[in-house]
Symmetry: C2
Subunit: 264 residues, 2 copies
């Protein structure tokens, strides 16, 4: 039993799709969520800048003496190996999503879509090396399109962009596709239409499952039956509830606190 909270962070609010799963799996845990909304998006930045931002995000959550940290952001997860060791478990999305894809694939061809930085890092190819054939395609417009409401089937803008990005995936013939960005689960409908029969792996959900297993196997459960979430953002929280409700797929009414992330 461990009464400490679990920390979760993302470059913005996309990580809420992972948080949602975590709360379902571990309903008794208290969670601190940090969204780096003052510096979002990470996906177009350099590895050095992403590493610096990610280090600050982890320091911020560590300041609450959390018992574990879930990095609910693919771009930030790609730099974890270079940040070195931590005193508590810090779990990224790459390896859990890669393992989930390997369990799902039947033809050994796994596609990966993500931000420019995630794809450029080669993190998924390394995680899958020797165990599956891999094709990774950057989809830089998916995040702004989702954030601006263009994510539903029938929307000509998202469908045109998705067709262009996913064309190489059709040719590649993967039967499993890793949604390598925590914004992408909202595009399940659009992507599913273009790649029928392909299994879509939700990277945030895969990481949440791994976190739940870790908490249980190490006896780190809170012992309570219901938990709560405290939200922190690096930009002013105006509009937080609206966008958070999109990613949580239910109404979010909790406010968010503002944090000066540059101080960490």
């Amino acid at each position: 039993m461990d009464e400490r909270r679990i920390g979760v962070f993302d470059s913005g609010l996309g990580g809420l799709t992972g948080l949602k799963r975590l709360m379902k799996l571990l309903p008794g845990e208290d969670v601190i969520y940090f969204g780096d909304t003052g510096r979002v998006p990470y996906g177009g930045r350099s590895a050095a800048t992403i590493a610096r931002y990610t280090r600050q995000d982890i320091h911020f959550l560590e300041s609450f003496s959390v018992k574990a940290i879930l990095v609910a952001c693919n771009t930030a997860s790609t730099v974890l190996p270079q940040l070195g060791g931590f005193d508590i478990p810090v779990l990224g999305v790459i390896e859990p999503a890669a393992e989930a894809a390997l369990r799902a694939t039947r033809n050994g061809r796994v596609g990966v879509i993500g931000t420019a930085a995630t794809v450029r890092s080669g993190a998924y190819e390394r995680a899958l090396a020797g165990r599956a054939e891999t094709l990774a395609v950057p989809c830089p417009l998916f995040v702004p399109l989702v954030e601006n409401g263009h994510f539903r089937p029938g929307d000509v803008v998202i469908e045109t962009v998705a067709r262009e990005y996913l064309e190489p995936m059709r040719d590649f013939g993967c039967d499993t596709l890793i949604l390598g960005c925590t914004h992408y689960p909202l595009l399940r409908g659009v992507i599913g239409e273009m790649l029928p029969g392909v299994e879509l792996i939700d990277s945030g959900a895969a990481a949440a499952e791994r976190m739940a297993a870790l908490i249980r196997s190490r006896g780190l459960e809170s012992g309570r039956t219901s938990g709560s979430v405290e939200y922190h953002l690096s930009d002013d929280p105006e509009g937080f509830e609206r966008l958070a409700s999109v990613f949580m797929e239910s109404r979010v009414t909790a406010g968010a606190k503002k944090v000066d992330i540059e101080a960490y």
Copy 2:
């Protein structure tokens, strides 16, 4: 005569469209350009965060003892009034663009398009108040679409998004439209097709003209016949030449230096 340089900054590289005009008008001046690529885009952030970032950008350029600063970013320009006085002229784009629109309009109806933050600030409405009827419409997807190459006429993605954003402008019946973001001059073709006969005001160019007039009227010219530009960015400069060439509409080969903007 004043041998000091002129500082120019933008949240990213869109401000290069203003720099281009400035260099044409003042070919003898040396310029320092700063692009806050580690924290771009500003347009979706809160006024408080934009003010903090803009203050740092100005401090950085002041550290070079520049003789004047051109804020080649509409979103940053909206917070200048609250940043207070400066020892050197600091010129934003709002007022020069508003004045250019007033000179151009014949029917007294001026449209404004910009980022969410620029429109929310009401800066253009204030600048035009009592002198023109105004309608301001936020176009949050224009920046990511331009940066990802969707800006040419015939591109179904930009045309679909532009049609949706510009529909209220057609109904409004403006004869003059302020391109209230330094990315938007690249969309001249697309916007011109949808609003035929409407005069498009390039806010960065209008501000560059104002800066040139100011430099001349105060006798601050360098006295040289050719100048150079030094580029500084807050993210690693990888890919800088490619994107810079898009905005400058000519090949940029000069490298860029990396600056830790959080230190200013």
